[in-house]
Amino acid sequence: MPVFSIAKNEWARLFMSKHGWLAIITFGLVWGIFLFYVIRPAARYISSADVGIIFELLLPRIDTGTLGLWQSKEIGLYWVFALYLLPFFTMVSAADQIASDKTRGTLRFLVLRASRTQIFFGRFIGQYFVQLLVILVTLLSVFALIALNSPDALGNAIDEAPVVVANLALVLLPYVAMMALFSVLAKTAKQATLFAIVGWIVLWFTLGYVQNTFGPFSILDWVLPGSQFVSLLRLPGWETLSLAPIPLLQTVVLLFFGWLAMQRCEL
């Protein structure tokens, strides 16, 4: 199946190229610093029930009481930070699904062997699995941290991890889809990331203006990827999945427009 060959090749693009390894090492270093200098000390503060001020400074819109929903403080912190950090990583790492191949002409070799639909969805699936791998690796690093600091808490962390994995997997879907769309429209990966950031900000301002001027429209809360994050953090355990339709719907819409752009783009 061409779609799976293309998806598999996305892994090769990450693990068999210098550029891919550079991205992995850079992210690994950033994550390592974050793990040891943010999550580890913050978990200690939470344990001592003195987290309020620090946390409000870092993420002022988040109700700090939500961390109390988690048995494992490290997992609670991982959930909050991963929720806000991983989408940014996705916007950078998944930005080159189509762009550089289109500009270089490599796509012309591919479209004679696979349909544009197969190429578009193959790349999307491959990149999504890369993001799932990132979720698993970062989570394992948190487990390692817990095992080193307080092995007794590892059981709670393992129990709560599936909720976090499922939610992060859902949360990242529209971001990978958004980058699939912008990488069709852009000429380079950097341009795709720029389009995504500028597009996201413009949409955020526009929605805010519309909501403030013409009254609240709850439907508009569904438009922007990540708009459900604050609500998501207030929900305990598997109740978080009640918000799953938002990223799923966003993904479907973004993939549709990306697919449409792919069909229409001239190579």
């Binding site: 061409p2 060959s5 190229s17 490599t106 012309r108 070799f109 004679l112 696979a114 001239e266």
Partner: protein
């Protein structure tokens, strides 16, 4: 068997008509030359046939399928102009992906990659990345990808542009060998090369079809083209005009002379005798006019 069939095929870029109601039917067989000045619409036509761009109007069928059809996978291949492989991966890795997309697996894919690299005389360079190869070698690699799976039709857009003579020779020999089983459509400005390789020609200008047919047209029967590298021009023309049946002699570029002979006369034997008598050596003698002379003369 029809390999290409277009009906009113057009492509506009804004107000510019890159291809204008292009109708043609081409059959499988000897390589087909696609010629025309810059901006004539050659690359646009090839891009439309490959499904890289969408027509503004009209339709086209390749090997009996609509352009862009999935059924063409593995049957139609191309060497597009200015298309490059991914510089991050070895040639072998990328060709293996192409082979797997065409349905080959494992050992079969590996064997096919080796076959096409052998065909372009780059068997030992598969492990290299495109950036480690010369321009000519990269072009040969691009040609190798087009040979994967022995497609029925290969479209070559400027396959020898900007590359050195040894690489040109390799590509030309390859096309000649592969054309026994595959039909090539070759777009090029090198008319000498096309004359040597192709059996028919499609001539485009300003997006329109000007002429198509055998490369050796019947209208050329009244001409001989002879290349004389170092012969006194005036003296040759004078001697030539004395021959019975010669209507006119004109000097062309690069030491070529065009001899116009009257109907029913074959002056080639007399011409060769005259050259021998004067001790003049010739490089080649062609029955008819060169493609360049016929189209642009």
């Amino acid at each position: 068997m029809n390999i290409i069939n277009t009906l009113g095929l057009s492509k506009n870029y804004g107000n510019v008509k890159a291809l204008d109601s292009f109708d043609i039917t081409l059959d499988a067989g000897e390589p087909i030359a696609l010629i025309g000045p810059n901006g004539a619409g050659k690359t646009t036509l090839l891009s439309l046939l490959c499904g890289y761009i969408r027509p503004s109007a009209g339709s086209a069928q390749v090997l009996g399928h609509n352009i862009g059809s999935k059924a063409l996978s593995g049957k139609l291949a191309a060497l597009p102009q200015d298309a490059h492989l991914d510089p991050r991966f070895s040639v072998q890795k990328q060709l293996s992906l192409f082979a797997s997309l065409q349905g080959m697996r494992g050992a079969d894919a590996k064997q096919e990659v080796q076959r096409v690299l052998d065909a372009v005389q780059l068997a030992g360079d598969g492990v290299k990345k495109p950036g480690e190869l010369s321009h000519g070698m990269r072009k040969r690699v691009s040609l190798a990808q087009a040979l994967i799976g022995k497609p029925e039709l290969i479209l070559l857009d400027e396959p020898t542009a900007g590359i050195d003579p040894p690489n040109v020779k390799i590509i030309r020999d390859l096309v000649r060998n592969e054309s026994k089983s595959t039909t090539f459509v070759i777009s090029s400005h090198n008319l000498d090369e096309l004359e040597r390789l192709c059996g028919s020609v499609v001539y485009l200008n300003e997006g329109k079809l000007v002429e198509s047919g055998p490369i050796q047209a019947t209208s050329d029967d009244g001409y001989l083209t002879i290349r004389l590298p170092s012969v006194p021009e005036d003296q040759f023309i004078r001697e030539c005009r004395k021959l019975s049946g010669v209507l006119d002699v004109q000097r062309q570029a690069q030491g070529d002379y065009l001899v116009h002979q009257s109907e029913g006369h074959a002056v080639d034997q007399a011409l060769l005798s005259m050259l021998a008598k004067n001790g003049w050596r010739y490089r080649h003698l062609i029955k008819g006019r060169s493609l360049e002379e016929r189209l642009y003369g």
